[in-house]
């Protein structure tokens, strides 16, 4: 069932066991799992079926530190969430991403990749993915990795009919959960704002917040403040360890043979470091994306090379005339070191229309990440040169130690951390089952539970974790 208003839903007299907040990839997946298990579940969705400026306005916020996207641009607040404009790049976090790294504090998950692998078949069906090909080592340091460009499933569109027909699932649109109420052991209800006004308190046995990688922290911080710590009793890490995938053009390459590597339908290829290389250089994970650049760019690059290695450039130029060379741009996206200082706070001055404080995001890239960018490009360049696959030129701003450019891609719109998973209540918010520490009936879905980000886009892992949480919750409720 889909209701366009909270008032309409109330008249239906539906009695849910579980209340999910948010209908993005995480919320929709958990709802479908619970619905399939015969558990009545309600999904409260703040937005409507379509984009609206009024709804987006609730997402406005402020960033302190490094340049970042406007917070009402980097996500979408309507049915289906940010899946309404995601690009569809898919890959699950690597096995090594779950392991602690001795050289980077606060890394390591309480679960391993094996814990989400049983759900990957379902994830492939949901996201319409073919099987992933295993990584291919290019050298001891660099491996070819596959990111699949999926059809970018819009969860709202794809599952609307199924949700509407479901007897166990009620999606309630235009219903903003402004606050959870808790007594330090359980959440007792959610305050709801609908039709421009307070609409009372919603009750259910279990609550799952799936409001996105920024909003989960905001909602829990605000709820905790209002409930005097009654919603997240161990709140030391709440809002902290927030992460993105910084993304910048890092250089160019002249390649002997573009088809040397398997490229995808968009003619792109991706490369990551081996764990041994990360360990040796003490860097984070990264992904180098190779994008073939137009013919005139090769000429420009070769002209540049001529200043440094004239004979090599001359030889390449002759090859170019025979179309034996091509050029590629290198985009680097990397894993951020999890830092407690990168955090979501509640604004002290600015509130939305419902009176909820807006987000103040504190975000800065660290020196370890800068080193990851430089060493990553060097590793890739060294591999290409050693194997005679091509030559890499690192962009001047990186070689010269200049600031990050502000006119580039900047980051992936991947909002991770803030309610991270862990066993130490001082450094995490949820346990290995995504249950908030100390609370009997409060769970979190989405990338806010990520402990580390790896190098790849998050939604495949979000969907796998959502399948796992849905199944777990189903078992808890069945007992």
């Amino acid at each position: 069932m889909i209701f366009d208003s909270y008032e309409g839903y109330k008249q239906a007299g539906f009695k849910p066991k579980v209340c999910i907040l948010g209908s993005g990839p995480a919320g929709t997946t958990i709802a479908r799992k619970l619905g399939a298990a015969g558990i009545p579940v309600v999904v409260l969705e703040a937005g409507s079926r379509e984009f609206s400026d009024e709804s987006q306005d609730f997402y406005r916020g402020k960033t302190v530190g490094d340049f970042y996207f406007d917070l009402d641009i980097t996500r979408l607040r309507f049915m289906g969430g940010s899946s309404n404009h995601w690009a569809g790049w898919c890959r699950v976090l690597d096995r090594q991403d779950f392991e602690p790294k001795a050289w980077a504090p606060d890394t390591g998950w309480p679960i391993s990749r094996a814990d989400i692998e049983p759900y990957l078949k379902e994830v492939h069906d949901i996201l319409e993915l073919p099987d992933f090909r295993p990584d291919v080592p290019v050298s001891d340091d660099i491996r070819w990795v596959q990111l699949i460009k999926s059809p970018a499933v819009r969860f709202g569109e794809k599952f609307a009919d199924e949700l509407d027909r479901s007897k166990n699932i009620a999606v309630v649109l235009n219903t903003y959960a402004t606050e959870l109420i808790g007594d330090g052991k359980r959440v007792t209800g959610a305050k709801v704002w609908s039709n421009g006004q307070d609409a009372g308190t919603f009750s259910a046995d279990y609550f799952v917040t799936c409001t996105g990688g920024l909003e989960n922290s905001r909602l829990l911080l605000w709820s905790n403040e209002r409930s005097n710590g009654g919603v997240v009793p161990n709140a030391a890490a709440l809002g902290r360890y927030w992460m993105e995938h910084p993304t910048f053009e890092g250089g160019n390459a002249i390649l002997a043979n573009y088809s040397e590597f398997e490229v995808d339908a968009s003619n792109e290829a991706f490369f990551s470091p081996t764990l041994a290389a990360m360990e040796r250089l003490q860097i984070m994970n990264f992904g180098i994306r190779l994008i073939e650049s137009p013919y005139p760019n090769v000429k420009k690059l070769i002209a540049d090379l001529a200043c440094t290695a004239p004979n090599m450039a001359e030889w390449m130029s002759s090859q170019l005339d025979q179309r034996l060379r091509c050029a590629a741009q290198l985009y680097v996206a990397w894993e951020q070191a999890p830092l407690a200082s990168n955090q979501i706070e509640l604004s002290k001055t600015d509130v939305d229309h419902a009176g909820v404080p807006r987000i103040e995001l504190h975000w800065k890239k660290s020196p370890l990440e800068r080193r990851t960018l430089i060493e990553g490009l060097k590793l890739f360049g060294t591999t290409l040169a050693q194997k005679n696959l091509g030559r890499v030129r690192i962009d001047d701003w990186i070689s010269n130690g200049a600031d990050y450019p502000t006119n580039e891609e900047t980051a992936g719109h991947h909002h991770m951390g803030g309610t991270r998973m862990g066993t130490d209540v001082l450094k995490s918010v949820v346990d290995a089952n995504c249950k908030v520490h100390g609370m009997a009936n409060l769970y979190v879905g989405g990338s806010s539970v990520f402990c580390t980000s790896g190098q790849c886009n998050p939604t495949t892992t979000i969907t796998a974790l959502a399948c796992r949480l849905g199944e777990h919750l189903g078992k808890v409720i069945a007992v």
């Binding site: 440094t308 290695a309 004979n311 060294t382 050693q386 890499v392 030129r393 690192i394």
Partner: protein, 57 residues
């Protein structure tokens, strides 16, 4: 006497200054002139390019 010592030490200083660079030359033998001894596969970074030394020939 003291002038003599001063003269000696000044001479010693001058001698030291002359011999030091020579000694350091002996300590660091000059780069091999023979191209066969250059590691042509060595990876070098010049002007942002990551190249093999042989690319520079």
């Amino acid at each position: 006497m003291s002038r003599f010592i001063r003269r000696i030490s000044r001479r010693a200083i001058v001698q030291a200054l002359i011999t030091l660079p020579a000694l350091s030359l002996f300590r660091n033998p000059p780069a091999p002139a023979n191209p066969d001894e250059i590691d042509r596969d060595e990876i070098v970074e010049i002007n942002g390019w990551i190249l093999r030394r042989s690319d520079l020939a």
